[in-house]
Symmetry: D3
Subunit: 324 residues, 6 copies
């Protein structure tokens, strides 16, 4: 029997351009109670040091997510049939106060996590991942599979400012939110401030797979290693849209040419199946720099790919539970 | 005591870029029961003979309406304090069937009108006004104050097709939905198919105020005449965004240079106060041809101006009723 | 001796930005008599359920085709030297009447086919391929090599509407216009309405090569199979521009990330040599969603690639005939 | 009896987005023989010192002119009913040789003028007006009514280069092509190289009506003076699109804020009725800098306005001639 | 004798598209010593509550200012001949720390003011005017002529945050930087949070001239009053680009339709002559939302208009001094 | 000890959007004396036969180069630590005189070359490479590694014009500036004027590696051959941005689909290490056709990649010299 899960609007009865814009055309719910997966926006970019705009990301990703349908054509997973999913809205943020925003995001995400729902969020700049990790990893450090052009493990900015979208993962390690031995960063590329810029990260045990290594090895091999690094423990997935090439994702704050194709990105996300995902995000979609919604569409599709993987995990857990 | 009306999201607590996108950031309600004014989208452009795109109008007008605040700076009217207003969603339409869509729109609008709420809709192309009038004017013909670059009183197209966005008002007259003696069209301009193109309309008694006459007389004088033509009877307001100049409203299907400035349009809408408005629309906002949301912003602001006028009318009625 | 074929304007005497815009800068002729290959536009998108705009495709593809030169740099084929080619204009369509348009397109295309010219058309949405097939396959079913992100074999829409741009190939099979055993669809990808969405197509015998299979096998292997499936019989080629990645072809109604690169698309079209092509099209170029003419340029170049293949086929036939 | 003049395509049978793109959807003819008015493109911008792009002007003005209909809504003139008008194509130009282009343009325009047709051309940058005047004013100097933000009477550039788009009217005076006493320039504005920059022009007898004077006096008063200055003699009309405000005509090489509204421009062109027009142009439409075709639409509409005035003049002459 | 002032690059020798981009093509100097007028950028938008982007304003205003020439065509003032003007670069800012930025801007501006140069700055959002006033009005309160769509005298945001781009002038009054009796705000319009939103400002003595009053009275009358309000004392000019209509200045964070035309804005700035200007700014140019550089061009031209007025004031002072 | 080389602005103290726009945020110097590598703009496109705009290339490449950091993440080379590099500004050009511009460019480049600095320039159209070679190869012919979609070895245009952006390398061979046996062209593709179009080039000994051959062989193999062809002698590197796919570099005059990915381009440039580079350029970036700065970013990054290779070469020479 089909469970009474939330269902998206039926595109054969309500055209995709009609109706209110929500993630995947799902119902909006006021909180995450009863959900398996909570889709949530974090519209904040106060950690951005150059081109802001990711604050507008959730709205445009919602718009473009109207193009998503009900099932994955490769895995066959129909997420809305096997998991209860809904749009829980945007977390509270403060556009002019960085520290207040970090607190608000952590509080909002903690409320979701406490219901048992797995959060799948759309940023916002990459600094938003820090308060999300504070909520998700409150109990124990988590592993991290991180797709990005940048390592985001810088130390400070303008003297001693510890919080920018270039520093979240150094802070997360310092705060014990992530286990550096279980971190893998994939797609890192672009000019650096210093030849030794990534030494600290590597010293912590982070595995950096540069774009050049990815090109030599391919997605399957790289993701096998990534799954091995993350291991069996709880793992967070962070997908910075700037890991994708700027021709396919121009709407972002720090573009670097030579990025992943969307095909490669899709393939890698699909190969996350089997990881114990406790949360995931898509960040740095910055609509003011986007072209024809292209980046928001890429973001919405990666979000759908992540959703299908997490729904598969939910379904697997449910089946086992049901079998007991 | 402040009545328990629906209120928009507070922009000092939830930034304008955050949250779901609804008309004026108001709550979404499932039907119009209890509302004084129902904000509604009609995402359909199947009557468009050249550049389609107005089907995407409601979504983008909703997005830009996030910039509207709570009170009118000239009239002082605070619409959400004096009237119960909400977003009732989009009417059902069929993107590939013209006649089916006309029926669906009429049915959807009839359901709203029956609750007693005054509909304020966003199109869609101008043909959508025909089924709206079928709902609004079911009982008796209404007057019409019509802002447009085009008279939209053509007869047929491609032989004998009676329904396009160039024909709604001829059909409405033929069907007895509008009283031609109580119709005024303001802003008409641009090249015509035939020097006698407007003869039929004039023969019916429609008063056409061409742009050139408007320029000579000004908004106050023209609107005094418009109010006189509409008289005391129930009147519908139809605002085609292409009445505004293409530099201020490029996102429309049939642009004509030499249009109204937005200042003139705002002034005219404000001068509708006193008319007995039974419904109103803003049509022909076509986002695929828009620039930076400029047309959708103009559409959203005109919608807000109309809302304030209608709310003033509601408040006036309410006061009287309360006084009894 | 160089045959007295129609020749494009000489770009060393008339710059590419000068002169009237026609397909490949060829002369316009009033009908297809005497032509080997007829270039034709089908400016209609009334079967589009979400983002319309392909009605504007032929005009922009003509504009961008001004960048094409006289010979293919790989095959060496100089199409205008070996075949008589011209721009026969656009077929008659009716923007507000779906069924009337299907009749007009079929009639227009039948007039071309009767002259013996091979039609190479530019849509228009994908529903236009149905009336084209009704003209091309009047005598016998044809094979089909179909490049697309979507199978376009859905059944109905909004209850019982049989004709949308998602249904042409189901209708074509039902009408006996194509032999399902001789159909191959290449590049299919993206989320689906149902995990079993393609079951009907597969049951008919259609061979679907998903993007993922293409990535594993490569263009040469896939096209060898495609040629084998089409066999020796008359075959139609349908190229939906959304088979190409949205970063390279953003101007289309239903974009799906993870698509073909233009290099792959060009390679596949070149590997059509040897197929008995009786007609071909490039569809779903939607300029209102395009960026800098990029999609129209891709469409024009794919059209040129198809033209060279068909011209090679014409030349081969001509040579044989000449040898007799 | 309606004369057998060339007629535009009927938009009620062929949608505006269909068919080849020509000026006003008129037939293309190979030369001007038999025409009253020849519509012609001059796709060349080699005199541009900053932002080139007007070479692409004729193509985009043709595209946007598809929105023009058959009659003028104010004057009632139906140009295609009272004059024989057609699109004679683009003049030959050489993109990389300034002097060769001036010769080619003069030759091409001379061929048109010799047939007796009145040329109405679309540039191209403003230097193209010089060779046009060499053709039109071969026999005697003409008057000039010139709408522009700039006087275009500079002397030389980069030392001693006499030909740029800032110098045509100084050259035309020196060559005796225009009578400086019969020149009026309207709309001049913007910062200047030198406070005395216009002294030479004024010394020749040119009447410069700056934007500020226009604002004080209005279009009627200014145009009455303009007609008086031009007098009864043969007069050329040159309309630089940058006379219009950049918000309404952004696609031009040298934008200056504070320009004419399109309404004012239309009004002024209409007030040219009565002038003995021997040729006219619309120049400096530069599509690479345009937005959504807005400038090309303004250019096409001004062209239509000019066409109606000239057609009225043709009709008046024809009537008289017929009466004889 | 021409004084040895800094001169812009000569456009007849170095095309406008060549060379490094500086304000008005002037030399860059490392500090304001010896300058009469210092052109300076303040690239910061951390006070923006909705659409950020004004941090990119100075760079694009510099780019577009390459179109400015050497003299004003109405006043005849040649600013670089009568005053020593240069580009002193951008003030130091901190993108992620609001309070630190306010300090840095105040310090940078103080260094300029101490040299005796009059600062003419380009923002940045409107909060940047607060630290500028702290520098300019250190000694005594100044008058303020303020062009804007918004009064920017709100109190707090998100509870108790005192600093946003909606609050600078309330803070400036509270800090005694401006004399509220000598403040005039021109062009205020748009919906408000509360019908009494401007009561505080009016209670302080600020004169608000709404757009509607401006339309009735015209620029000359309004500016006569503005000059009277500012009086003979030192006065600061603040020009928010959103005072101009969004069709002419779309690139801004808080657009309101119904704004000034650029002609009106230019006229008003010219009528500032005679005011004792101690500093001026153009703020809220937000390039990520701009179209074709239109807003930056408007900003650069308003900056040039302000420069000419201030240079005239400098020249007047210099003449007197020289006469002694 | 860190040598006293010119250093870019520190992005941790001055945000990337702040400050004047120079190549790589380096200081501007008035001439190349003392530099190892001179970064220089050549803003001229007078050789362009279709879509001009590359004259605006240097300005936008400077803007986007603000995103470059200090070291290469693969080679580890920190160019500003091992070589003295600065922005020497733009060469003098004449927008309306082709021959004068060729002389000016040659003169400007000769002045740079004489200081011993290696020029790394940004065009400008590809004809600018001819006068650069006249300066660089004054003493002896050089080798050439040339990335492009087009061979640019055409002969004449419009009869007998020898100089366009399609002819520079034929002229360079005729003038003895390059040794045709040491020329390799990589990435050539797209339709040709004639099947034998490249015969002349091949007859001279030029090695053309078409895109199709590149796809079969890969970057490493192709670049090994390229280095072998260039040999040990002095070699010039010319990178036409249209070698990259139009989806990644749309802002160019002659786009050809099926181009290099930026990843491939980066890989090839890195494999230039070991070649004796005497000069290099990036040409044909045409901002008026660009999207969101994407092409300028690609151009700036390729420039950085070239800079790192040349800096490595400088460092190697310096080390050796220092060791002596």
């Amino acid at each position: 029997m089909k469970p009474p899960f939330h269902q998206p609007v039926d595109a054969a009865q309500v055209p995709r351009f009609a109706g209110h814009s929500t993630f995947m055309r799902l119902p909006v719910v006021s909180n995450a109670e009863g959900l398996d997966i909570a889709l949530v926006g974090i519209p904040w970019d106060g950690g951005t040091t150059n081109r802001a705009g990711a604050r507008h990301g959730p709205r445009e990703v919602r718009n473009q997510s109207s193009l998503m349908r009900r099932a994955h054509h490769v895995s066959g997973i129909a997420p809305f049939s096997v998991a209860n999913v809904a749009d829980v809205g945007d977390l509270s943020v403060n556009p002019i106060d960085l520290l207040d925003s970090l607190k608000r995001i952590e509080a909002g995400m903690t409320a979701i996590v406490r219901t048992g729902a797995i959060p799948l969020s759309v940023g916002g700049d990459h600094l938003t991942t820090l308060p999300v990790l504070r909520a998700v990893a409150k109990e124990r450090p988590v592993g991290l599979i991180h797709f990005d052009a940048h390592s985001d493990t810088n130390d400070t900015y303008f003297g001693d400012n510890p919080y920018t979208h270039g520093t979240p993962f150094r802070r997360a390690i310092e705060e014990g939110l992530v286990d550096p031995k279980r971190i893998v960063q994939i797609g890192i590329r672009g000019s650096v401030y210093d030849p030794g810029e990534h030494d600290w990260a590597k010293d912590q045990g982070i595995r950096i797979i540069y774009m050049e290594e990815f090109l030599r090895r391919g997605a399957e091999d790289v993701m096998e290693e990534a799954r091995r690094i993350a291991g069996d423990g709880p793992t967070y997935i962070s997908f910075d849209i700037d890991s994708i090439d700027p021709s396919m994702a121009p709407g972002t704050g720090t573009p670097e040419i030579g990025g992943f194709s969307t095909r490669e990105a899709q393939q890698m996300v699909r190969l996350l199946a089997g990881v114990d995902i406790v949360g995931a995000d898509v960040v740095e979609v910055a609509p003011p720099f986007d072209l024809a919604g292209m980046t928001a569409l890429a973001g919405a599709t990666i979000m759908f790919e992540l959703l299908c993987v997490i729904a598969g995990q939910v379904a697997a857990g449910r089946t086992v539970a049901g079998a007991t």
